[in-house]
Amino acid sequence: MSKGKLREEEIRRIIRADDEWEPVGPTPMPSLTDLRNWDFRLLDTYEPFYAPFCDLCCLCTFGKCDLTGDKKGACGIDIAAQQARWILICSLMGTAAHGAHGRHMIEHLIEKYGEDFKIDLGSQVNVEAPIIRTVMGLKPENLGDLRKAIEYVEREMIHLVSATHMGQEGSYRDFESKAFHAGMLDHVALEAADIAQIVGYGLPTSIADTALVDLGWGAIDVKKPTIVVVGHNAVTANAIVDYLRQHDLYDKVEVAGLCCTALDMTRYDSGAKVIGPLSRQRFFLKAGLADVVVTDEQCVVTDIPQMASEAGAAMVACSDKICYGLEEASAKTADEILQDMLENQKQFLILDSEKAAEVIVRAALALAPVRQERKKIMTQEEAALVSAKCRGTCEACNRACPNLLPINVAINQARQGDFAKLGSVFLRCIGCAKCEEACVNDIPIQKVMQAAAASDTYKIRAGRGPIHDVEIRKVGSPIVLGTIPGVVLFAGCSNFPGDIDDVAWLAEELARRKYIVTLSGCAAMAASMRKDEDGKTIYEKYIPEFDAGCIVNVGSCVSNAHVVGAAIKIANIFATLPNRANFELMADYILNRVGACGVVWGPYSQKALSIGTGAVRWGIPVVLGPHGSKYRRLFMSKKEAGDWNVIDGRTKQVVNTEEPTPEHMMLVTETKERALVTIIKQCFRRNDTPPGRAIKLNSYISAYKQVIGGLPDDLQNFVRTEKEIPIVYKREVIAYLKEVGWKPKTVLSLPTIIGTYETKVPIEATIK
């Protein structure tokens, strides 16, 4: 269905088309099919790769349908389209989670300040919302405009959800195009949500050097009344901080968090503490150190009410997304709620954030004195005793472990007083408690881990929000020329295949090779959990600027928008290409010229999937850790045998560059070593100048020699001229290239894929 005239007029009204900050581009507020040709062009080079989790489809009552081999479902769907449908469904879950978060946050702030409340991101950020500007064509000026962004996301989502119904879309390519749409909408929602909280709560913006904040369960002074917030929406957490400040209680109560609420709370007040990522939720809550547990939304383990009650802690749920069957108590007085809570251990849902804050703080003050005895972690003697029955032979625990850990050996050794192995299992544990559930002797394995876990305190820098326009002006040219070898974003969850601090290793290997390293969410937390010989974390060692060799924590999951935004700003501010309603132009620029790569080393959530899928539509390749294979879809090229044609922007001729850059758009690597060389390779771009490519090749070869050994066996794909061979490796690289019959390739300064497919964007638009 093409857009009707009325809808076009409506869109012009929504985006205030007559505002003349830039001419309106070809795709204001794109609908489902407006960017389909762009998507198909990407899919031509980067084919979807499917790894079905299940041979069947059981979505409707025609089924179950067996889809193995060339069998089709009763509705006619095949296994590839069924995988792509799942991807769309899961991406929509992620987009909905961020979108609903954004809507709640924006509505809460509109209630407080009104819809005309101005967006002002400080003196360093003029292009306030590069994603919303590009996708919608709207330059948001106030909270009301951010609500329009969420309304646009909601409008598109209804059509996308509809397409997943039985007997709707039937082609895997169209499902993927729709998943790209969901991913792009997700980024709109992320940006709207984070801008809203930055302006509404006065979070850091226009500064780089944000406060260093304490992280780790050892950082919590459990002698004080302890409140622990869990989730991703800091509305109630911030209300708790406000209540404590207003009542002069801030230094008498510990407020700490798990997951992104913690990160956002420390942006609001750097005295708050971060306990750790999702993988530490159960571990910490089972330890009983919290007097009050507060849940908001997203990635909150669903048995928190049970854990809180077993620990004798109070528990308050604060989001309409997670009600746990509890009574909603906003209409009651705080005294009434507290009485029931303290006398009867009753748990409540309290949607009124200010009332919730009062109840939570008062409950913590009341409970702390009587809970001191329960706030003790298991000693090694106790741990050995409760593990007494394990002989390490049944292995029921190992078989249940989704991270494939040798728990049997660790518990059997702990029983004998040796906790070293259990300590190393804890570093890799994702906190699912499946081992404990499976243990034939009912050993409380998560609790036993308390006796083996280090309780160090680490420093993480509070999330700094948007990248500054002036930083973009400084790094735009070296990034596009390739002399800054890449911008890497570590995002997403803590479903890590190996040690929790492997992200720190990856970040540091890249920073010391002069990549711009950015982090967010659980990945940003995990990266702080490694100290050097001087006891410093990467946040203390590296400058927090968006520049070569620096390390930046942008903030929570919703702050991921700022890294995609930075890539857009390079095209818009540095290259001065118009971004208003100009998705393809921006994405084409990023794909061909901005050496950016997203990494989700510990993927598990649907949110991380939608963020990653959105990144691919923007032309940003994504590298996933091994658990990402369970998303069941990747995007991979045929390497040198793929379609690498571009248009030379100067001559407007089609040129076969013969160089697979970026090589894949979404792939999984098995080990951190392989991830390192893959990330480096994914930052190659066809626009790299020979000196820029030489710098990138130098990183590639040095990392490859360090972690894999010898010269990479695909150098012939990426060396275009002899000038690009790094001097230190010249002799051996030339010998290798000779051996494999390498021939020089064309180096283009204005490569574009605009014009290699049907689009409304003229080739001229790519050149300024």
């Binding site: 790894a51 041979d55 193995t68 249940a400 045929k638 999984v668 690597t669 098995e670």
Partner: protein, 185 residues
């Protein structure tokens, strides 16, 4: 035993939810004969071959013996190449696990030695959850080849799978059995 199908592997995360399960290859002689019948096999080494001890040797020592016995080309995924270089062997390919699976899907791909598609692909030492995903891809999208997971944790999405072998000595016996059979075949 020959007709037994693998649906419940060692790791619960890999339980089969489907209709097409691997045939369990309990006897080393049977394993050797599957390998022997292949005309253009490939052996994919995963990262765990270099750090999984089997008795006083490493898993890679056995895998290399199997590969050598029939001159089977090796794809060294992850960072396995480094250890192979130490052992004085160079792999034929260094594609990572997902990359090699991606290429194997394509019947027109010429294989790691340019001799056409591989009709049998052996896997050892790939992280079990990741291996299972790759085996599922090949089960569904590569009808032109057979897969054999030479892994003691067992893999339902392969065409052929070793049964669950928890005791290291038995595992060693299995691997030595396969090598022995290949040596005399």
């Amino acid at each position: 035993m020959a007709s037994e199908l693998m649906t419940m592997p060692y790791y619960k995360v890999n339980i089969l939810t489907g209709t097409k399960a691997a045939k369990v290859v309990s006897e080393p002689a049977e394993a050797a004969s599957i390998i022997d019948k292949a005309t253009n096999p490939l052996y994919v080494f995963g990262a765990e071959v270099i750090d999984s001890p089997v008795g006083d040797k490493l898993l890679i020592d056995f895998a290399l013996d199997i590969a050598k016995s029939r001159n089977i080309p090796i794809c060294a995924t992850a960072h396995v190449k480094k250890k192979m270089m130490e052992l004085g062997v160079l792999p034929d390919s260094t594609y990572d696990i997902i990359e090699i699976v991606h290429f194997l899907k394509d019947k027109n791909w010429m294989g790691v030695r340019g001799k056409g598609f591989h009709d049998l692909v052996l896997f050892t030492g790939v992280r079990c959850d990741l291996a299972e995903r790759g085996l599922s891809t090949l089960k569904h999208f590569a009808p032109h080849l057979k897969t054999f997971a030479i892994c003691r944790r067992s893999h339902p999405n392969a065409d052929f799978a070793v049964p669950i072998i928890t005791k290291t000595e038995k595992w060693r016996g299995y691997l030595e059995g396969v090598i022995g059979e290949l040596g005399t075949a």
